[in-house]
């Protein structure tokens, strides 16, 4: 019974449908982006959200703020500067050794305090493990609405946030509003929004906020951090070229054809959701709403029918080439180029064609 399970019931006779913002929420102004910094590195989704938040703030005629919680240090100062260059007018900064590593208790208490003090009307977070862990707690504490994994954010004619996301396991889209509560909270997955242009030298103001916590009062302790040794891990989200296969490939062995083409192009490879559910590929290779969202310059989808949950994960690609035996497959509705044919035949031919094309030019050049 999540918010997505019952949209059909959301109509008419409901107090919440009428917008009568309670008096005490009218002071809530401005758009905030939670800046996700872990171990000295800001997750790029925070910059993507600043880009999107800038548009919302401009539409509303309000300011855009970054909310940065971090340990003290040069990396934190650099992150503040980055916030301004990616579009923030100001940064609310909570800088304390206690915040050096993410913990739900410390971050949730700090961000809640910041919200209650400075009262934003919109609060955006990345739909990462950290962002989701934090957003759920903060929204529950503030008893406000939170819409997960939005694919589109807009301001409606009444000035409220219209957050669109896939629903029903990614078969349809729905637009969700938080009418009578503030802040309106939403999360967005990495790569769903485009990276904004960096404006070198752009400046803003810092509003420091002190932490009201002591380490002795924090129950959860961090014993260790084991960095991933395995660099092999798929860098799908940020890859230039991605080749993916779907159920149309028929069997697990045939994904070798996807990997062969990817190898020639120096590309990452992935798959659609049913392929992961079949156990043919690991979950980290899944592309789509519940897997990775990609924005490559070229995306080749072989034997993938193009369900909405897949579509929302690949729509940001510059060029989509779809290969499918079914000329009516929905993927041809959002792909730029298509080949109606058997991926098992076309993939090896494409691999050869790319290999020849790149090799010929190499000799000629």
């Amino acid at each position: 019974m999540s918010q997505q399970a019952a949209p059909a019931a959301a109509g008419g006779n409901r107090a919440g449908m009428k917008k009568e913002l309670p008096e005490h929420f009218k002071a809530y102004k401005h758009v905030w982006v939670f800046i996700e910094m872990e171990r000295g590195v800001v997750h790029p989704v925070s910059w993507e959200l600043l880009g999107e938040g800038r548009k919302l703030a401009d539409k509303l005629g309000v300011e855009l703020a970054g909310a940065l919680l971090a340990g003290p240090g040069e990396a934190t100062q650099a992150a503040v500067k980055d916030c301004f260059e990616y579009g923030a007018d100001l940064v609310y900064l909570m800088e304390d050794p206690i915040l050096a590593d993410y913990r739900n208790q410390t971050y949730a208490a700090s961000l809640t305090d910041l919200v209650n003090t400075h009262k934003p009307e919109i609060l955006l977070l990345g739909a990462t493990n950290l962002g989701r862990d934090l957003a759920g707690t903060v929204a529950t504490t503030l008893a406000t609405g939170l819409t997960a994994d939005c694919t589109e954010l807009a301001i409606d004619h009444e000035g409220s946030l219209a957050a669109t996301r896939p629903t029903f396991g990614g078969t349809l889209l729905c637009t969700i509003h938080t009418l009578n509560f503030r802040p309106q909270m939403a999360t967005v997955r990495p790569r769903v929004m485009a990276m904004p242009e960096r404006q070198e030298g752009r400046e803003g103001r810092v509003v420091p906020h002190s932490l009201a916590l002591e380490e002795s009062s924090i129950i959860t302790k961090i014993l260790d951090f084991i960095a991933d040794a395995n660099i092999e891990k798929a860098q799908l989200a940020y890859a230039d070229i991605v080749v993916a296969g779907g159920m149309g490939l028929g069997r697990q062995e045939n994904f070798k054809l996807v990997q062969d083409l990817a190898a020639v192009l120096g590309a990452e490879y992935g798959c659609s959701r049913p392929v992961v559910q079949k156990g043919w590929m690991p979950a980290e290779r899944q592309i789509g709403q519940t897997g990775k969202t990609i924005r490559p310059r070229l995306y080749i989808a072989a034997g993938i029918s193009g369900a909405i949950q897949h579509r929302v994960g690949v729509e940001g690609s510059d060029i989509i080439l779809a290969i499918n035996t079914d000329p009516n497959a929905t993927i041809f509705e959002f792909a730029h180029m298509g080949i109606v044919g058997d991926a098992l035949q076309i993939l090896p031919a494409l691999t050869e064609a790319f290999r020849r094309r790149l090799a010929v030019n190499r000799m000629a050049g």
Binding site: G16, N104, R132, K221, G266
Partner: protein, 284 residues
């Protein structure tokens, strides 16, 4: 040790169909399953029970038919099952859902004794929000452990737990105190198959049914649509792109010719990609 595992009955999304004209979901005949992510949490809970003793109680909120999911979970090995069902819960968003579930967990604690751990799925496959677990933790004051890849140790006497948690670029090793709310990462364990005695027991065992009143919920405005700050204003199918995919001519042509045409078309549309690729090849 009392462990509550929250599960959700979801439609098997692989078999959901959308009506091509009305854009509504065709639910008829779509089989339901236990949300797959919940199973990893159920398995982790069962392993802890087997290790330190106690009870695993599965809890779900849903329509009466959600009883099937509870019986399946008992077949896998859960000791007891509680169904939270009431028409007042219809249309709940995640905030209202976590409220109702947290009230039910408090009610379970009244009859079964204190609840030491609550397990939830990482997220559901139909809602995909990952918000209900943290909501329950927040309401009940449980220490929150999401995206757990392994439970390293549990000291029931000292009431301490050490886990590994998936973070960006690595794994956090966290130690915290019970009571906790845990969500397990997929693939963190292998879900056991139900044993024959459990499957037989699951078919007969009575299930505790709680409506809002029995769960101790007095303020019904915190439930269902009324208790949900989010409003779904519109459900729709995305518009097809104005121009459909340009198809490569395939009739009576060899795969080689088709592939060559596709490569030409790609590089014609993205000349910069072509030069970059050539540069990459030249360096290799």
């Amino acid at each position: 040790m009392n462990i509550v595992v929250c599960i959700k009955q979801v439609p098997d999304s692989a078999q959901i169909r959308v009506h091509p004209v009305t854009n509504t979901i065709m639910r008829q005949g779509v089989p339901t399953i236990i949300n797959p992510y919940d199973l990893f949490s159920l398995e982790a809970a069962l392993q802890l029970r087997d290790q330190v003793g106690g009870k695993v109680i599965v809890l779900t909120m849903g329509p009466p038919m959600a009883e099937d999911a509870l019986r399946k979970a008992m077949g896998i090995g859960a000791d007891k099952a509680v169904l939270l069902t009431d028409r007042f819960f219809a249309g709940s968003d995640t905030l209202a859902t976590s409220y109702a579930l947290s009230m039910a967990i408090s009610k379970i604690a009244e009859t079964e004794g204190p609840v030491d751990m609550v397990f939830c799925g990482k997220q559901t496959i139909d809602g995909d929000t990952a918000q209900v677990g943290p909501g329950i933790a927040c309401r009940l004051g449980l220490n929150q452990l999401t995206y757990i890849t392994s439970i390293e140790s549990l000291d029931a006497a000292k009431r301490e737990i050490t886990v590994q948690r998936r973070a960006e670029g690595g794994v956090q090793v966290l130690k915290t105190a019970l009571p906790v709310m845990v969500t397990m990462l997929e693939g963190s364990n292998v879900v056991r198959r139900g044993s024959m005695p459990n499957v037989l027991r699951a078919a007969r065992e009575p299930i505790t049914i709680l409506n809002a009143a029995k769960a101790g919920i007095e303020d019904l405005t915190r439930c269902g649509l009324k208790g949900s700050p989010t409003v779904v204003k519109k459900v729709f199918a995305p518009k097809p792109r104005a121009d459909k995919a340009k198809l490569v001519e395939t009739a009576n042509r060899s795969n080689t010719d088709i592939a060559n045409d596709a490569v030409e078309a790609i590089f014609a549309a993205a000349p910069k990609l072509h030069t970059d690729l050539l540069g990459r090849v030249a360096q290799a």
